[in-house]
Structure formats: C-alpha cells, structure tokens
Symmetry: C2
Subunit: 320 residues, 2 copies
Amino acid sequence: MSNLPKAITIYEEGPREGFQYEKGPIPTEAKIRLIDSLSVSGLRYIQIGSFVDPRRVPGMADTEAVAHGIKINPDVEYNALWMNVRGMKQALAIAHLHVDGKVRVYPSKTFLEKNLQRTSEGNRQKNVELIAQCKALGVPVAEASISSAFGCNFEGEIPLSTVMALVDEVVETFAENDCTIKHLVLADTMAWGTPVAMQRMIGAIQDKYPEITLRMHLHDTRGLGLANAYAALSMGVAHFDSSIAGLGGCPFAAHRGAAGNVCTEDLVAMCHEIGVETGTDLDALVESSMIAREVVGHDLPGRVAIAGTLSALRRKPRGC
Amino acid sequence: MSNLPKAITIYEEGPREGFQYEKGPIPTEAKIRLIDSLSVSGLRYIQIGSFVDPRRVPGMADTEAVAHGIKINPDVEYNALWMNVRGMKQALAIAHLHVDGKVRVYPSKTFLEKNLQRTSEGNRQKNVELIAQCKALGVPVAEASISSAFGCNFEGEIPLSTVMALVDEVVETFAENDCTIKHLVLADTMAWGTPVAMQRMIGAIQDKYPEITLRMHLHDTRGLGLANAYAALSMGVAHFDSSIAGLGGCPFAAHRGAAGNVCTEDLVAMCHEIGVETGTDLDALVESSMIAREVVGHDLPGRVAIAGTLSALRRKPRGC
C-alpha cells in the first residue's frame, strides 16, 4: 500500500517565501534572527531570500545584507532564489551561498507570461542560454522545476500529458547540454493538487524516468499540503520543500488566504510520527516557528507549534 | 493502491463542536442563523448542540431554544449530543430531533475519568444500563464510538490491541442486548492519529468485522485532519464527521490551538476534486463557513472558504 522512505530531506524556503509575500517591511535584523534560528534546527538546506527585481518584490531588496548578516553553520547549505543571470551573479558574489542552475518550465502559458513575461518557446531558449551561462561561470546545472504542475488559477487543470511532455523536454534539454538532473521539482504553486493527482503524476514520472529524483514543492492554500505530502511519501518521494510556520506564497499567483508552502514543523511532526526520519529537531523548529510569527507580526498557518507536539505530550502528559 | 468510495456521507458537528468550545457567549439567534444556512447546503445530518450540564458546558445552555428556533428542512436529520438519560430525554422532548442511543468506550482511562468521571468497568455498566433505558423508551441503539482511539494527551499512544479489545467488547455488548451496530465511530479526539495509524486500525477492524460500517471523527489539531481523512477514504471508509469552518474542540481534552474537527468544506472540496461525491453544495458550505466566522467573531481554521474553491476558479479564471 505504501512505499514510505526511511528518511527525507527538507529544503527550507520559509525565509524566501515569507519575506517575498508578507506586506512588510520586515527589518533585516528580524530576518537574520529567523534564519539563525533555523540554522541550528538540523535543517541542511535553507533558502535565505532571492535576488530579483526589488521593484517587483520589495521585500527582497535586502537579501545581500541578510546573507552577510547570518551566522553561518557549516553543516547548512544556504542558497537564494534568482530568476536570471543578473540574480545568479549577485548570489555568486556571496561566498557562502551555494549556487546552482535551475531550469524552470511552465505548463501554464498564462502564469509563465505573468511571472516571467515569456512565451513557452522564449522560456525554452532562455533555459538553453542559462545553461550556457552557468557553464561559462562554472555553475553546475542540477535542477529542473515544473511550476503549477497540478493546475493553475489562470488556466485551470493541467493535463498529465502536458506535464509529461514538459518532463520529456527538460530531460532532452539537459541531455543536449551534457547536464544531469539532480532533482526534478514538481511544484503545486497554486494548490490545485490532490493526493490522487500526486500519486498519478509521481507514478507516471517514476515509471518513465526511474533514475530521476523527485522533489515536491506543495503549497497549502486549500489545506491539502500534508495530505499531498503523505501521498508523495507513500510513493517513496524523499525530498520536500517546506516553509517554517507555513510562511509565504507567490505574489504573482493570484492567491488568497494562507498561501504558503506546506509547513516545515507540521511536515516534520507527521514524518516523525510515521517513522520517517528528517534529521531535524522538532522542538527547535517549533521555536523557529514562534520566531517567524514574531517577525511577521501575525499568526501563521502552522498547527503543531501552537497545538504542541506529541513528543512533548509524551514527555509530559497533560502538560498542554 | 486505493479503494476510494464513490460517495461519502457527512455528519456535520460544527454547531455542537463550536458552541461548546468557543468562549462565547454566542447569541441563540446567531446559532440558529448558522444552522439554517447549513440546512440548505445539501448536508443530511446536522448536530445542533448538546444536552449536557450547562455548569460544565455553558455554551450549550440554550440548545432547546436553538432546536425550537431553526427552520426545519425535512431532508435533514437533526440531532443533539447527550451523555446520559437525562440528556436523552431532553432531546426526545423535541419532536424534530432524531434520537438514537450511542455506546461510548474509552481506551484512555484518564480521559474517561476526566470526561465522564467513570472507571472502565463503570462505563461498561453504564452502557448496559443505557441500552436498557433506550429500549424502554423505544430509542434504537445504533452507534458505538471509541474516543481518543489513536492516542491521548493524558496517556500517550493507544496500542491497537487495546482498541481491538474494546471493539470486541462493544460487539459483545451489542449482541448480548440484541442490538445491531450501524456505525462504529473511530474518534481521534486529541489528534494523535496519522495516515499510517488510520490505515492500520481501519484495516484491522475491516479484517475482523467486515460487516461493521466505520465512521471517522478526526480532529485537526496538528493539521493532519485531511491527510487522515484521505487515508481513511483510501481504505473505503465513507462516513465522516466534520465541522463547518473547522469549528470546535473538546473542552476536556487538554487541547491548545485550533482543535476542531476536520473542516467540512475543506473535506468536501478534497472529495469533489478526487471524484468522491458528497451530495453537498460547496458554494453553500463556503457561505456557511463565512457565517460561522461572523458568529464566533474571529477567523477559523478552514482554508477553502478563504482561499476560494477550485470550482469557482474554473468558472472564472484569475477571478481570485
């Protein structure tokens, strides 16, 4: 019935997801405080912000200052989001940021236009150019992501065949440019996914490309984040993006409501309870989650930090 | 991989769950407004309140007035919670309330003591007495429920063997008293359940008692409500308690945070998206969910009402 992995790896995106989405302004010091707390929670991958046009995403204007202000934990790989070579170069200028190239494809033409002002063909060319520029700069190209893979607020359902054709295209693009896909990210950017859709798409890709490692990026806008994560886990998927306290959302996705990524500590709590290791300290994550609330100045969707963990109840029954 | 039912039946408990848990006071008229809105949403079962000691649960003191004030939809079966014969008689006095007997068992001795001030043996005797009194009053005894079946804030994990022994006891109690179990309710009162635990327990009961219809009562305290519901659906379970907007929580369960039942409209949205019918109108439920927020005077955990439904986005893309 299920093919749960023994352990998963979590890619923390809360700082980037949250700081781009919150109305702000959030002081640089507060961002650093949150990242420093995440750095000692056992997380191994933390996205600290993004190098994008500050006119479009004002909350990201201080990413360089954030990057220079954090206390580096040598066990953590820090990275930042960027969407073009200019952004990549900004990231490369900061020695302790890990940089690799990421090919992004969009089954929804409308979202591609809104998010990047590109056509599908234009995006394909940009990806080929990006790979060439990465190579010239010595940056490995290791990842591909499919945005709004399960559905789109602008275009509705995304047929599985459309996604599979894009996977073929991505595999081809990598092969033609002598690159190897480390992760293929299936992003449910606009929260159209269901457990059934997860299993169908993951199964189809696993069947055709068993050598590709899948990673899920699941937004929890309609409350299905953990149900979808469990569906992916039950298919053996072992790599998940997530967001402390459920921070975040994409400013260009026409969202309403609590639009963030699946909540890191809730995902970790579920995994630990079903015997899947995460390498993280849930109590430390709960602390980070409370800091995240202080930083943004309001409550956030994550549940476990407020409800209390089951492990705390085991240590101290009735203690809540 | 999955054995999804074609359709599920939903037992709406939001009014009872919410009014017992909210600090209140909530005006009787406001309660009636919420119930009347639920009555035209396609729901077939609505629990409108409870007949319990108003000193212990002050929010329930006006249940009789609520029952008399609502607009009866003949397609809806209205009921109220009660815990003893005194409460049952109060419910029986109201012609349009459906009354049937419910046997409750508690794997957690501590919770049984806190919730009902009884020992396990005392509870068993009370159940036998209850059945006799129901028979004397012409009330069918049709349901059994296992409270905190997956774990307890006071006692921690509940071993599956403990639950199975209680199921055996319940089946025996029913047989000895010439009653038939219509539903066996597995209640995750304190939100210790996980998708894996759901599948394990449901599978064990289905194997031993294939003739028993299971119904899930899933609290969403740690965000796993829908993941657990999906796990139950994938085992063919077709009966679910739920709570509009995620209202509620048990005042005696030592909860913190958003402790309500799984959210009705979020459950319905998930079901419709995976092709499981519910017989309800999601737009009407979203409206009820917004009324629930007005009634309690603060936001509630349900996501879909705030985020917007996918069906609305299909009708009007970019409309959110």
